[in-house]
C-alpha cells in the first residue's frame, strides 16, 4: 500500500486537530475534578459517543473485520448479544449507584460499598491491565503500519505516544473524551465507503450471501450445536458466557467505559450515556463485520479478472487480520485512503488515551491518595495525575517493546487478566442489589472466582490447539477457544456469586445507614415521568432492546 501526498496531509490534519483541542482545554484544567472527571460537565450525547468510542480501539476495528471474515455474521453476537443488553442494564440500573454515590472511580465505589481491600484488589489489577492493554494496542498498530505502509515501527510508537501524552497531559479526561467523539465520526466517515463499494462489487447482500457459506449469513440458525457453526459455540454458552458474564462484566464494571458516563453533566445524562451509545453500537456490525464477510466472499468467489482479496499465510490459511486493510487498499483511491487510515490511527490513539485516562485516575485516587500520600492539596493530585499520565505512557511503550520481543508473554498476561475480569460482575450485582453482601464476601468471592477461572483453564483444553500455559490435567476438550473462554467465564461468575453470597451470610453486614445511595432498595429512585420520552432511560432502553431484537430476527 503506497500513500500519496494527500493521504499524508489528511493524517497530519487529524494530528493537528487533536493537539489543538488539548491546547484549547489546557487553561481549564484548574483542579483534579476538571482533569480526572471532566468537571462532570459532559452532555449526554458527547459522553455517549465517548462511551462507545473508548471501546473502539484499532484492534477492535481490525479484529472484528477479521472475525467477520472468519465467522461471518455470527460475530454480530459481540454487539447484539454481547453489548447492547449490558449497556441498557448499566444505564437503567447501575448508573444511579455509580453517579449517585459521587465516587470518582469504580474502585472507589467498591470502597464505599464494601471495604478498602476490595477497592485495593480492583484498583491494582485494573491499573496494571490498562497500561498493559495500552501497550499491546500500541504495538499492534505499529506493527500494522509497518506491514502496510513500510513505516518504521519505532517511529510509529514514539510519535503516537507523544501525541497521546501531550493531549491528555494538557486537557485530561475532557481532551480524551472530545477526541473519542472526533474518532467516532472519523470511523463512520472513513469506513462507510468501503462497505458500500464492497457490497456493490459483490452484487449487494444477495450476491454476497451467494459467495460465502450459508452459516456466514445467519446469526442464530446454526447455534443449536457447537459443531454446526464456525465459532464452535452453542447458544447457551453464547448467551450465558458472552451475553451475560463477559458482556455485563465489561460494560457494567470496567472503569474505562464507565468513566465516560460518570463525566456526564447530570444523573439523567449519565443514565442516558450508555443508552445513546447503544444506538450506533447496534449498527456497527454493518461497518466493521460486513467488510470482513465481503473480503471472504470476494476471496472464495472473486469477480472475473479480479484476484482473491485475502492474502494467505505460510500454512495456507487466510490472513483474516488483513481483511479491512485489503478492502481499503482495493477500493480506496488516494484521498479516501488517507481518510480510512486516519480513522484507523484515530481509533488506535483514542483506545490508548482511554486506557491512559482510566489509569491516571485509578492510580491517583485509588492507589496514590489512598495508600501513598493521603491528605495532600488538590494541586498536588492534579500534578500527580499529569505524572501518572507520563508514567502510564512510558509503561505502555515498554509493554509495546516487550510485546515485540515476547509475543507469548503478552498473550499470557491477557489470559491471566481475563481470570480477574470474569467474576467481577457477580460482585457488583450482589453488592448493588443485595444489602446483605459484605466486604469479606466480596473480596473472597472475587479471589474464589479468579481461582475458579484459572482452574477451569488448567483442567480443559481446545481440540487441536497449543495451550499458552502448561496443563495440570485435561478433563474436557472444547471445540474452540471461544467456547473455552465463554464457559470459563460462566464457571468463574458462578463461583464468585455463590462464594460471595455464602461468605456474606457468615459475616457482619454494614449498617443500612452506611449503604444509602449505594444499594438498590436503600437509594431514592429518580422519577423521569415528567421528561420527554427520549430523556427517560427506561423508555430509551426499551427502544434500544426492541431494535436489537429486530436485528437478531432479521439475520436469524
Amino acid at each position: 500500500m503506497k500513500l500519496a501526498s494527500i493521504d499524508i496531509v489528511l493524517i497530519a490534519i487529524y494530528g493537528a486537530f487533536v493537539l489543538a483541542i488539548g491546547f484549547r482545554l489546557r487553561r481549564q484544567m484548574v483542579g483534579s475534578a476538571e482533569f480526572f472527571m471532566a468537571g462532570r460537565s459532559m452532555p449526554a450525547w458527547v459522553a455517549g459517543l465517548a462511551f462507545l468510542s473508548a471501546n473502539l480501539g484499532a484492534q477492535e476495528m481490525i479484529g472484528m473485520a477479521a472475525s467477520g471474515a472468519k465467522y461471518g455474521i455470527l460475530t454480530s453476537h459481540f454487539y447484539w448479544v454481547g453489548a447492547i443488553p449490558a449497556m441498557a442494564f448499566v444505564g437503567v440500573f447501575m448508573m444511579p449507584f455509580y453517579y449517585g454515590s459521587r465516587a470518582r472511580s469504580v474502585p472507589e465505589y467498591l470502597k464505599l460499598r464494601f471495604d478498602e481491600k476490595t477497592r485495593g484488589f480492583n484498583a491494582l489489577t485494573f491499573a496494571v491491565m490498562t497500561v498493559f492493554s495500552s501497550g499491546i494496542s500500541m504495538y499492534a498498530m505499529g506493527a500494522l503500519l509497518a506491514l502496510l505502509l513500510g513505516w518504521n515501527i519505532h517511529a510509529c510508537i514514539a510519535v503516537s505516544a507523544a501525541v497521546v501524552l501531550l493531549y491528555i497531559a494538557l486537557g485530561g479526561l475532557t481532551s480524551a473524551i472530545y477526541n473519542e467523539v472526533l474518532q467516532f465520526f472519523l470511523i463512520v466517515f472513513g469506513f462507510t465507503p468501503v462497505v458500500y463499494l464492497g457490497l456493490r462489487d459483490a452484487g449487494g447482500w444477495p450476491g454476497l450471501a451467494a459467495r460465502v457459506p450459508e452459516t456466514f449469513v445467519h446469526s442464530w440458525s446454526y447455534l443449536g450445536r457447537a459443531d454446526a457453526n464456525p465459532m464452535g459455540v452453542e447458544w447457551f454458552g453464547m448467551v450465558m458466557g458472552l451475553g451475560f458474564v463477559l458482556s455485563f462484566g465489561y460494560w457494567c464494571t470496567d472503569f474505562l467505559v464507565v468513566q465516560r458516563a460518570m463525566a456526564a453533566e447530570s444523573m439523567n445524562a449519565a443514565r442516558r450515556t450508555p443508552l445513546i451509545a447503544a444506538v450506533p453500537k447496534m449498527l456497527f456490525p454493518f461497518l466493521v463485520i460486513v467488510p470482513g464477510i465481503i473480503a471472504l466472499g470476494l476471496t472464495l468467489h472473486p469477480n472475473p479478472g479480479a484476484a482473491p482479496l485475502l492474502p494467505t499465510l505460510a500454512d495456507g490459511s487466510y490472513d483474516y487480520n488483513m481483511a479491512l486493510p485489503m478492502m481499503m487498499s482495493r477500493y480506496y483511491p488516494a484521498g479516501l485512503l488517507g481518510l480510512g487510515l486516519t480513522a484507523l490511527l484515530a481509533s488506535f490513539m483514542s483506545g490508548m488515551a482511554g486506557n491512559v485516562t482510566a489509569f491516571n485516575t485509578v492510580w491517583t485516587f485509588d492507589i496514590y491518595q489512598s495508600y501513598i500520600r493521603p491528605r495532600q492539596s488538590d494541586a498536588h493530585y492534579l500534578w500527580m495525575g499529569r505524572m501518572a499520565t507520563l508514567v502510564g505512557v512510558l509503561v505502555s511503550i515498554a509493554t509495546a517493546y516487550a510485546a515485540m520481543r515476547f509475543n507469548n508473554i503478552m498473550d499470557m498476561l491477557q489470559l491471566v487478566f481475563s481470570f480477574v475480569n470474569a467474576p467481577l460482575f457477580a460482585t457488583f450485582l450482589l453488592g448493588m442489589f443485595w444489602k446483605r453482601t459484605t466486604g469479606h464476601g466480596a473480596f473472597w468471592g472475587l479471589v474464589a472466582g479468579t481461582g475458579a477461572a484459572a482452574l477451569h483453564y488448567e483442567l480443559t483444553n481446545v481440540t487441536g490447539a497449543v495451550s499458552l500455559l502448561p496443563k495440570i490435567a485435561v478433563m474436557y476438550s472444547y471445540p474452540s477457544d471461544m467456547a473455552q473462554n465463554f464457559w470459563g467465564a460462566i464457571v468463574a461468575w458462578t463461583t464468585c456469586f455463590v462464594a460471595t453470597g455464602a461468605i456474606s451470610l457468615g459475616t457482619a453486614a454494614k449498617a443500612e445507614s452506611d449503604l444509602r445511595g449505594l444499594v438498590f432498595g436503600l437509594t431514592e429512585r429518580s422519577t423521569d415521568r415528567e421528561r420527554a420520552w427520549h430523556q427517560r432511560p427506561a423508555v430509551l432502553a426499551a427502544v434500544v432492546l426492541t431494535l436489537t431484537l429486530a436485528l437478531n430476527i432479521l439475520f436469524w
Binding site: Y178, L182, F185, G335, L336
Partner: protein, 59 residues
C-alpha cells in the same frame, strides 16, 4: 461544557470534505465507475457545514 464540540467536528468534516472533493474533481479517480472522492467529499462537506450551523445556532 468547555467547548461546543460541534465546532471541531464541523471544522474537521468540512476540511476533509473539501480536500476530498477537490481531489475528486481534479484527479477523477474512478472506483467501480464512481468518482468516490468527489461524492464522498461533497457529502462530508455538507455534514460538516451542518454541524457548524447547529453550533452557531446554539451560540
Amino acid at each position: 461544557m468547555h467547548l461546543d464540540l460541534r465546532y471541531p467536528i464541523g471544522l474537521l468534516l468540512t476540511t476533509y470534505g473539501v480536500i476530498l472533493a477537490i481531489e475528486g474533481a481534479v484527479v477523477q479517480a474512478m472506483v467501480l465507475g464512481l468518482n468516490v472522492n468527489l461524492y464522498w467529499g461533497g457529502f462530508m462537506t455538507a455534514c460538516g457545514l451542518g454541524a457548524l450551523y447547529l453550533a452557531r445556532r446554539r451560540a
